[in-house]
């Protein structure tokens, strides 16, 4: 199915709608996460719309500091990486409005964009000159390199099984019922990818990058006002985009908006619930974890696809 079923202007309109929708949904998920975590800890918790309050509050702040161009480009890169990632993944299968710009071989591009945002952020945050930022970036990049391995193996296994690097065809291959989902037809790849997802989302067992308690909040330490808001919305859309990608790869995509919303929610909360019960890994423990069972599962998945 070609992405150019709509002419340019309606396409642009729907792109804007889906990006804004993804940001809004990501912020709501952020609020639900805070509420759920509060309830788990026996607290009342903030209102679900708290991330919106924070976002607008941050936009209304003013400062006059100067850290160099790269510092200010950091959040821009991050947001651009997140939006680019989102725009490459079809959200609703077979609906030209929410098909976004998927094309043959876009899966490789998607994996590149996942790196791109983090790298831009790392460059920008390092320019801020705060030692805590640098410490957090080192941790973040090592963790990213580690979880990227099982994730890539899982993607390779899925692509080999489908015979295509196009997200669109991967979704098409899973149509026709729950039994066709790669979650069930290729469980080894699913194990590898969903364990890598824990690291990707940077919630509890792997939240040493942001380290909310001891090194302030990682790379964003020096960011404020509008840059902070760009990062908050970038994080919101990045979270949704990752879940949409997982939905397309393993849960058979979605044929309606509602299905997409529900599936994204459950994929997101997989990492939240794991995070609620597991304490934090140190960086080297995290690296060792990702290079252990998840990678083994990934290798097994690739071998299984090649042998059978």
């Amino acid at each position: 199915m070609s992405p150019s079923e709509l002419s340019l202007l309606p396409k642009l309109f729907w792109v804007v709608v889906s990006v804004v929708g993804a940001i809004a949904y990501g912020l709501v998920i952020g609020g639900i996460i805070r509420k759920v975590m509060a309830r788990i800890q026996g607290r009342i918790g903030p209102p679900v719309y708290q991330p919106y309050l924070d976002l607008f509050k941050v936009i209304f702040q003013r400062t006059a500091t100067w850290h160099g161009y790269m510092f200010y480009l950091g959040p821009v890169f991050r947001a651009a990486g997140a939006i680019g990632l989102f725009l490459l993944i079809p959200v609703v299968f077979g609906d030209p409005r929410f098909d976004n710009f998927s094309f043959n071989g876009d899966l490789l591009m998607v994996m590149y964009f996942m790196f791109f945002g983090c790298l831009g952020m790392a460059l920008g945050a390092a320019e801020g000159g705060h030692p805590h930022s640098v410490v957090a970036i080192t941790r973040g990049l090592s963790q990213m390199t580690a979880y990227e391995l099982p994730f890539s193996l899982a993607v390779v296994a899925i692509a080999a099984q489908t015979g295509s690097f196009s997200v669109h065809q991967i979704v098409a291959a899973q149509q026709g019922g729950v039994g066709h989902w790669f979650l069930f037809t290729n469980p080894l790849a699913a194990v590898a990818a969903f364990l890598a997802f824990l690291g990707m989302n940077m919630y509890s067992p792997f939240d040493i990058v942001l380290a909310p308690q001891e090194i302030p909040i990682g790379p964003p330490t020096e960011y404020n006002s509008a840059f902070m808001s760009a990062m908050m919305s970038g994080r919101a859309i990045f979270g949704v985009a990752k879940c949409v990608l997982y939905m397309d790869l393993f849960l058979g995509g979605a044929t309606t908006i509602l299905a997409a919303i529900v599936k994204v929610f459950f994929i997101y909360f997989w990492s939240i619930f794991v995070g609620a019960v597991f304490p934090r890994f140190r960086t080297e423990q995290a690296v060792r974890f990702f290079l252990g069972w998840p990678t083994a599962a990934g290798v097994a998945a690739v071998l299984a696809v090649m042998l059978f």
Partner: protein, 216 residues
């Protein structure tokens, strides 16, 4: 006793009201239009909306000075749960709006507090916790603590007690939120407009002054 550190005489009238604005800082970057009294009505409405957002999302700088800092921790627990009011701890001044001076301030830490306060983006507020920030409390005759915080930094809300219980802190926060919503909590504006006066006081007590005139 160190005779080198001289305590200033507390001026009876408090900070000067409506003195001349500080020329180099006031160029629009901090003194936003929204809180001025004669603003047109749409600006007033906008200011009210902005203040509502600000009041419901207070990010507190995680910095403790005196013994009162110990009362901040229970606020995060299930019993008091400040997050339900939208209050969160931020470990960096660049992202905080509220600085809680939680008790007595040694002259040495006053310097750090000034530095952190000035690095926070406006609008920002100071909550002074405990008697020590009001009149020196039980450290009133100590050789190296300050007695009145509002000589050196603008205080928006005082919370009295030695030490105030977390309930008092929550009440103080609610008072701060009420004042922000009404546009009354503008200590940061006062600091900007009377920077000379505050700097003079700060330099009087910090004898080894090595800070820049303003810490951006």
């Amino acid at each position: 006793m160190d005779d080198k550190i001289v305590k200033p005489e507390p001026p009876l009238g408090g900070p000067p009201q409506g003195s001349r604005p500080h020329a180099p800082v006031g160029d629009g970057c901090f003194l936003g239009e929204e809180m001025k009294p004669q603003a047109p009505s749409y600006k007033e409405a906008l200011a009210r909306i902005k203040n509502w957002f600000r009041a419901n999302s207070l990010w507190v700088m995680a910095y403790g000075t005196g013994c009162g800092a110990i009362e901040l921790r229970p606020l995060a627990t299930a019993r008091f749960d400040m997050e339900r009011l939208g209050i969160a701890m931020r470990p960096t001044p660049r992202q905080s709006n509220v600085l809680i001076v939680s008790g007595y301030l040694a002259v040495k830490s006053l310097k750090r507090v000034i530095r952190s306060y000035e690095q926070m983006p406006s609008p920002k507020w100071i909550v002074a916790l405990g008697s020590c920030t009001i009149n020196g409390g039980m450290y009133w005759d100590s050789y190296n603590t300050i007695n009145r915080l509002d000589l050196y930094l603008p205080v928006d809300v005082y919370i009295n007690g030695c030490m105030p219980r977390p309930e008092a802190l929550v009440a103080g926060f609610q008072e701060l939120m009420r004042r922000i919503k009404k546009g009354e909590a503008d200590g940061w504006r006062h600091y900007m407009e009377n920077l000379d006066w505050y700097k003079e006081n700060q330099k009087k007590i910090i004898t080894d002054w090595d800070l820049p005139e303003y810490n951006w």
